[in-house]
């Protein structure tokens, strides 16, 4: 035994590449489950950082968040009543583990803060639901019920800033559906199967299926007197709204999203519709929209956008960007869709310090990068951490992704007219609309962003049940060929891990990297894994 090497590995952690001895991360898993025989030894400094400032810190802060936002009793009642919280959110630290496998130094620190923010925002939302939920309070409509608004998850939370001093706005499906898929991919299957059991065919968008299935199984809290729905991203969401209207049986406003949105007339149309929505809320609550309050929170959100632009500059122009692909994508889409919250500012403060230190010290945060990758189109929710695997296995560093870039704007607050125009624009640039089913101009912004972020490869998501994106598959193939861009496809069915497994996605990437790129893996132990049962 080489004691010198063993001591070095203990102190610094094993080196990444197979040539240097290798970490062989794939050998840490228990078969099928994705559980670890033991968590990774990252060297003394990073292992204890992970233990103290990620694992312990987040367990403690999760309990504190639950107590702060409504108490352990409400939480326990919610866990007992709703599958999506009990089955999904208890193993949340494993979500951290999967996203941060193999990370070291500043990349580990920066990425972990993003996860902390998402956990806080999730607890805030489900505790707000439970505090107001008539089902957890013996059918009683309490004060919280009267002061919580419910909207579809694809409606930007900022639409309700004008009532922030008196009302909370909580999305109907973001926590019961969207976030669950990332943390425990099995929960959502119940909801997809439920809606198919009442006669829906299996081929519509599985997002819309899952959202509707929550209602079929009577698994949505009753936390608000009314709701706002939306046809975003597509007509599948119209179907969801019809079922929600039926099962929820509450006053409903259907906020519209035009299919063509670069047209100024479409913007005018949406402005009018947003005003109608605000009028609907005023009619329901008796409280008009407060313009000053709206502007105050928009300004706070603009600060988040400005920091995001700083982050993008660092990601594009240096090798010192301390955020990995999955943390970048999930944090940004969560923050920009949900709207302003104190935790985003707190975390951005921490990340700023880490990022500035990395830039100052010229730290190469992903030292085994072979390709700078841009990920485009809608990502597989059940395998959002594929990019962590791809970096560890092949040195594919996903620098930026489509979800991060959708709301690439600040909102003016100098007048009501300008504010409304920009709010309409923001609303129309919604997830899966601007760069998925939103037309050729925006979907082909890929080429500009590729150049801007200095990327040399594209990871192209292929959502098999999105009819809009299936329609442009061939056009992308042609463009990749004409432009001589290395690109690989990742087929998936958004939340449904049964259609294309994680193992299948990895196999396709492995095939591309060996047969097209003729490259050798950095860590061969990760090539083939049986993680079928993993969260």
């Amino acid at each position: 035994m080489d004691f010198k090497k063993a001591l070095k590995d203990f102190w610094y952690g094993k080196p990444h590449t197979a040539e240097e001895g290798g970490r062989r991360l794939g050998e840490n898993y228990l078969p099928k489950t994705g559980l670890y025989k033991h968590r990774e030894w990252r060297g003394v400094k990073d292992t204890f950082y992970y233990f103290n400032y990620i694992w312990l810190y987040n367990y403690i802060h999760m309990v504190m968040d639950v107590m702060k936002y409504g108490g352990l009793i409400n939480f326990a009642k919610g866990v007992w009543r709703y599958r999506w919280v009990g089955q999904t959110y208890l193993p949340v630290l494993h979500w951290f583990d999967r996203g941060m496998e193999g990370m070291r130094g500043e990349a580990l620190r920066g990425s972990a803060w993003h996860y902390r923010a998402m956990v806080n925002a999730t607890i805030y939302q489900f505790m707000s639901m439970f505090n107001a939920d008539t089902r957890l309070h013996g059918g009683k409509k309490n004060d919280a019920w009267y002061h919580t608004m419910a909207m579809k998850e694809t409606v930007w939370g900022g639409m309700f800033y004008g009532w922030r001093d008196k009302f909370k706005a909580v999305a109907l499906e973001m926590i019961p559906y969207f976030v669950t898929c990332h943390v425990n991919s099995h929960t959502v299957h119940n909801y997809i199967d439920a809606v198919q059991s009442i006669g829906l065919p299996g081929d519509p968008c599985p997002m819309c299926q899952a959202e509707s299935g929550l209602y079929v199984l009577d698994d949505i809290p009753d936390y608000s007197p009314f709701m706002i729905t939306c046809n975003e991203a597509c007509d599948g969401s119209v179907g969801t709204a019809i079922l929600q209207d039926w099962f929820n049986d509450k006053p409903l406003f259907a906020l519209q999203m035009p299919m063509i949105f670069d047209d100024p007339l479409a913007n005018k149309f949406v402005q009018k519709d947003i005003e109608k929505c605000w009028k609907f809320i005023e009619d329901q609550t008796g409280v008009p929209m407060n313009f000053d309050l709206m502007c105050e929170y928009i300004e706070r959100q603009n600060e988040l956008m400005k920091f995001e632009w700083e982050k993008w500059e660092v990601a594009a122009k240096t090798n010192s960007y301390p955020i990995n692909g999955v943390a970048q994508a999930l944090y940004r889409i969560y923050q920009s869709q949900m709207g302003d919250l104190p935790i985003w500012h707190e975390v951005d403060g921490h990340v700023r310090k880490i990022m500035e230190r990395a830039v100052r010290n010229k730290t190469n945060t992903f030292p085994n990068t072979r390709h700078r990758v841009i990920a485009w189109s809608c990502a597989p929710l059940y395998y959002s951490n594929w990019c962590t695997w791809a970096y560890n296995t092949w040195g594919l560093n996903v620098v930026i992704n489509m979800d991060s870039l959708m709301f690439d704007m600040t909102i003016r607050t100098d007048s009501y007219e300008n504010m409304l125009e920009d709010v309409a624009q923001y609303h129309m640039w919604a997830p899966m609309r601007r760069m998925a089913v939103g037309g050729m101009h925006h979907i082909f912004e890929l080429w500009d962003y590729m150049e801007r972020f200095n990327c040399d490869m594209v990871a192209m998501y292929d959502q098999l049940q999105c009819k809009g994106m299936q329609g442009v598959h061939g056009l992308f193939e042609d463009e990749f060929r004409d432009r001589n861009i290395p690109a690989f496809w990742i087929p998936h069915a958004l939340p449904d891990s049964r259609t294309v497994s994680r193992a299948e996605m990895r196999r396709l990437i492995n095939d591309y990297m060996t047969t097209v790129m003729h490259e050798e893996p950095l860590d061969p132990s990760l090539l083939e894994l049986d993680d079928d049962m993993t969260w």
């Binding site: 670890y36 025989k37 409509k141 049986d249």
Partner: protein
Amino acid sequence: MKKFVKKALCLGGIGYAALFAVFFFDLDGKLLFNVVEPFLKNHYDNMERKDMLKTPYDMDKFPDYKYDEA
């Protein structure tokens, strides 16, 4: 006082080491995967649920509520 501090430090050290063992050997994950999740799934699978298909689909008829109730 000295004895108390020594005892507290000792207990703290043992607690910290025990938590590190839970962390390092993924005992939290193993407990949640093998015990907690199957138990909760069994509970959710056997819960009595409302038949949502029996909900009437009326237009413009909603359960009453008033904001001055709050």
